[in-house]
């Protein structure tokens, strides 16, 4: 009989003849086999959680090549033995059949063809080469989450593209930009020794770092006073001594009022300011009339309370801090930049930098690098397509972070032809998804995800799946930041689970792609060699790191009074930013009103935040975490009781939320725990890739309602400058 054409999956293994008999090693009976493997040993392998960007240390316990348990690494300064719900949930994603299980090629709208890795590399490499040969290497964009070695820089360097773009403009770019300009980098709070803590724009119990919450809770037990300033009664507020429900968008006024009190009542640390501050007089000249009373009118917080905050900060200084904040304030208001500046200024006024109970820079170290293996030609570097750091465009924006929300615009203008998205899903996490969908108009879009995210489904010509973090070894990381810790720690992800090559790690993906592109030996090292070369200069062997999971280096950041210097032009904390003055701005913060204000009876400012069991949009499809959502009505939109009553709304009612960009429906949570001017939604929901079946169609996302704006100074999206109207009904 003539055989029909077919593509057999099973092959005789290389070097092995066809079996002539049944091997003795074969256990054919499934029940016997399943029983036998129960005797396998449990081993443990260190890794770093991928549930958010905190990189908490964990141990993956492994039995017969599969995940047996995960637990926090006691030695890691982020986890201190604990993982949050996200950490557990995301670990289990490894067995999710909804993963992209092999490379995919688009063959039509919402239609993909599974292809082999070899085919994928050849097609993507060849097409990229053809496009860049015609239009130039600077038309290539690498867009990613950031904060992780991506190896992309080597390729960008060879083709002459400066277009490495991260997601930070949608997250906290105002903070990092401003702190770098004013004091040379980020500083972190000393929870263990502070006597007084103000948290504004940061909810450690929502965007959880387990060790931070452990230490804040311990501080609370010691009697440390904790103040939470937030329009919402957030999770951290539940353990605070006081929750101050500020009018959203007015934290800058509060900070100006506090600074005014500190200075006008002579409560500030004059010695510290004289020694370590540049531009104090200039700042005061512009703000000497911005009293606590004026701040009270804007914030809705009484002048007495504002003065009390200032006096308490001063009374406990330097064992006190205004926590530097995170996502909540630093990409979301027209005044986010000035708010970040005032955070630096208040902490400087109480002189808490480098002081016990105050703020400290992150302890760090420097890794080595594998030797270069590519010595071929390199193209001349082009100019950034997003304009970040470019004179006449966005000169003050950090080029290292970029302006991701501009990618559709760059494509439309022909400035971007080939776009690779790595671990980044702007169609859901960047403003205005319908606008972001224009990304598909690029000549070639490649997505490197784990799951079928919206960017992959709607725009990617090819999907090259990266493996789960427990399936791979990675370049090591310095564990630091967010929390004061006197010594840097070094940790890494090691391959914990059985090797499966349905998906690959990023280094192997880039090796395959660049070879097909025509660049030989650009990444002429293995991940093992990369790790050894990285750890070499600090005297740690990969084996030692794998054995211990996390290694702490010698103590390098301790409280000090002598020898304090800041990594700025004046070596002081600069209250006035010179780069701003050069671009025609004042250089010091002054009051700036929010861009938009709710006016009518049914108008609200739409704000958002993290839930303790989700990590923005990246966990929305996790069945375990979504089960928590179901238990707690997690998709509900919060609304102040008084405002809800006026609209005739009660708990669980359906409402229609609308503005000129979008109209969505959702259910409301009616609560006293929210400022009346706003409604609050978790940043998690609104999945519209129906391949993500656990999250699909649940709730909505704030990005649906905001345009892709670009702040002129730091490039952020002003994500909470958004007014919506709300009406009853609409399911």
């Amino acid at each position: 009989m003539q055989k029909i054409s077919r593509r057999s999956f099973l092959k005789i293994a290389a070097g092995v003849g066809a079996a002539a008999a049944v091997p003795l090693t074969l256990t054919m009976d499934f029940k016997v086999f399943a029983q036998d493997i129960q005797d396998d040993k449990v081993t443990k392998v260190p890794s770093l959680c991928n549930g958010c960007s905190s990189t908490c240390g964990l141990w993956a316990y492994v039995k017969n090549g599969r995940l047996w348990k995960v637990e926090g690494n006691e030695a890691n300064m982020k986890s201190m033995g604990k993982l949050c719900a996200r950490g557990h949930g995301v670990a289990y994603n490894v067995y999710d059949p909804g993963r992209v299980t092999q490379p995919m090629k688009r063959v039509g709208d919402n239609k993909f063809q599974p292809i082999s890795w070899e085919e994928a590399f050849q097609e993507v490499g060849t097409k990229t080469r053809q496009i860049l040969d015609e239009h130039g290497g600077d038309k290539f964009v690498w867009a990613c989450h950031g904060g992780k070695e991506t190896y992309a820089a080597k390729f960008l360097d060879v083709i002459g593209s400066p277009n490495y773009i991260t997601h930070y403009a949608t997250c906290f770019t105002a903070k990092t930009n401003i702190w770098d300009k004013m004091c040379g980098g980020m500083y972190n709070p000393d929870f263990d020794n502070a006597k007084y803590m103000i948290f504004a724009g940061r909810n450690y119990a929502g965007g959880i770092i387990p060790a931070a919450m452990k230490r804040i809770t311990e501080a609370k037990e010691k009697g440390v006073k904790i103040i939470v300033v937030d329009p919402r009664f957030c999770e951290l507020a539940t353990i605070a001594d006081e929750w101050i429900p500020i009018r959203p968008g007015t934290d800058l006024a509060l900070y100006l009022g506090i600074a005014h009190t500190l200075i006008s009542e002579n409560l500030y640390d004059k010695s510290f300011v004289e020694q370590f501050v540049f531009g104090f007089d200039f700042f005061w000249m512009y703000n000497k009339d911005f009293s606590a009373e004026k701040a009270a009118e804007i914030t809705g917080i009484s002048a007495d309370k504002i003065k009390e905050l200032a006096r308490d900060l001063a009374a406990n200084a330097p064992h006190a801090f205004l926590e530097p904040g995170y996502h909540g304030l630093h990409a979301h208001y027209k005044n986010s930049n000035e708010t970040a500046m005032m955070n630096v200024i208040i902490n400087a006024l109480i002189g808490n930098f480098w002081r016990e109970g105050g703020l400290f820079p992150a302890a760090s170290t420097t890794f080595g690098h594998p030797e270069d293996t590519y010595f071929g030609p390199k193209a001349e570097m082009g100019s950034r397509a997003d304009g970040a750091g470019v004179a006449g465009q966005y000169p003050l924006v950090e080029a290292g972070r970029g302006i991701p929300q501009r990618i559709p615009d760059m494509i439309e203008k022909g400035q971007a032809k080939v776009v690779f998205f790595y671990h980044y899903n702007p169609l859901r996490s960047a403003p205005e998804p319908e606008y972001q969908k224009k990304i598909k108009n690029a000549d070639l879009v490649v997505s490197i995800p784990c799951d079928w995210n919206e960017t992959s489904v709607y725009t990617a010509d090819y999907i090259l799946p990266e493996n789960h973090y427990l399936e791979r070894m990675e370049h090591p990381k310095v564990i630091n930041g967010n929390i004061y810790w006197a010594a840097a720690q070094v940790a890494a992800r090691f391959k914990a689970l059985d090797a499966t090559s349905s998906s690959l790690d990023l280094l192997d993906i880039l090796k395959g792609f660049t070879t097909a592109y025509g660049i030989n030996n650009l990444y002429g090292f293995t991940i093992e060699e990369d790790m050894a070369a990285s750890l070499g200069p600090i005297g740690i062997s990969p084996d030692k790191l794998k054995e211990e999971g996390c290694i702490e280096l010698r103590t390098s950041v301790l409280p000090k009074i002598e020898g304090i210097t800041f990594n700025t032009f004046t070596h002081k904390i600069e209250f006035c930013i010179g780069a701003w003055k050069k671009e025609g701005f004042i250089g010091v913060p002054t009051w700036i009103s929010p861009l938009v204000e709710p006016q009518g009876e049914n108008e609200f400012r739409l704000i958002h935040g993290k839930q303790p069991w989700h990590s923005h949009i990246m966990t929305t499809n996790n069945p375990y975490l979504m089960a928590i959502t179901e238990d707690y009505n997690g998709t509900y939109m919060w609304m102040n009781t008084e405002r809800a009553t006026k609209l005739g709304l009660k708990e669980g009612d359906w409402v229609t939320v609308a503005n000129d960009i979008a109209t969505k429906t959702t259910q409301v949570h009616v609560t006293e725990g929210l400022h009346p001017d706003c409604v609050w939604v978790p940043s998690t929901y609104g999945t519209y890739s129906d391949k993500l079946e656990n999250g699909y169609g649940k709730g909505f996302n704030y990005n649906d309602f905001i345009p892709a704006r670009v702040d002129e100074k730091t490039g952020h999206v002003m994500g909470q400058e958004c007014i919506v109207t709300i009406s009853k009904g609409g399911k």
Binding site: K3, D29, F30, W68, F112, S501, E693
Partner: protein, 210 residues
């Protein structure tokens, strides 16, 4: 010969024409769960697949009649059905993978919540298939390492055992690893565009039950 005796227990059984036909039949079914290339589509459309199934099943002593040619539309439609059923740009979808339809592990020592659940990859059954494949000196494609118990691989393996005359092993294999097709079918029929795949599963189950 001594070395062979050391490593191998049961010598392979004699292979009859009936075995060969039966084995070939499952190769044809295995092919139907791969991405539909145009050539395969044409073979479905012109009735060649139905004809081969009819001939092979008769020779194998398990006669069945199929009419897949009447159940497929255009090439674009079968590609869409493959996407919807197995890749799933719409939900729900029904991955053709045994682990998904069985409890992940019977090893109660595991401390992950999925241990007693269905719906996950790389369950006990996948480990068993990986074990069988390796023991027989076979290999599966790199892209399927995460799902060695993909239906195509199971059917090719079942075919291989029959082809090699390992009849009792094949029977054991069928009992252990091809018993989930009714659950798979039930998942498929929840998908709007489930043809021709739901009918293929029905016919496959029919011939396996004979």
């Amino acid at each position: 010969m001594e070395k062979i005796k050391k490593w191998y227990g049961v010598l392979m059984g004699s292979i009859t024409e009936q075995n060969k036909a039966y084995a070939s039949l499952f190769i044809i079914f295995a092919d139907l769960f791969k991405y539909p290339e145009k050539e395969n589509y044409n073979e479905l459309l012109n009735g060649e697949i139905d004809k081969q199934i009819e001939q092979l099943s008769r020779l194998a002593g398990h006669p069945i009649i199929t009419s897949f040619k009447d159940e497929i539309g255009s090439y674009e439609e079968i590609v869409q059905a493959f996407n919807d059923c197995f890749l799933g740009i719409t939900t729900p979808f029904a991955p053709p993978v045994e682990s998904v339809y069985k409890v992940w592990t019977t090893d109660d020592s595991f401390q992950v919540p999925l241990k007693n659940q269905k719906g996950h990859l790389l369950g006990d059954s996948a480990l068993h298939i990986r074990h069988i494949v390796q023991a027989l000196g076979l290999e599966i494609p790199t892209e399927y390492e995460m799902m060695p118990d993909h239906l195509t691989i199971l059917l090719e393996l079942y075919s291989y055992l029959n082809q090699e005359g390992l009849i009792s092993e094949a029977e054991q294999f069928k009992k252990d690893h091809l018993d989930w097709l009714p659950d798979f079918y039930n998942s498929l029929i929840k998908i709007e565009r489930n043809q021709p795949y739901s009918n293929i599963v029905l016919k496959l189950n029919e011939v396996l039950k004979q």
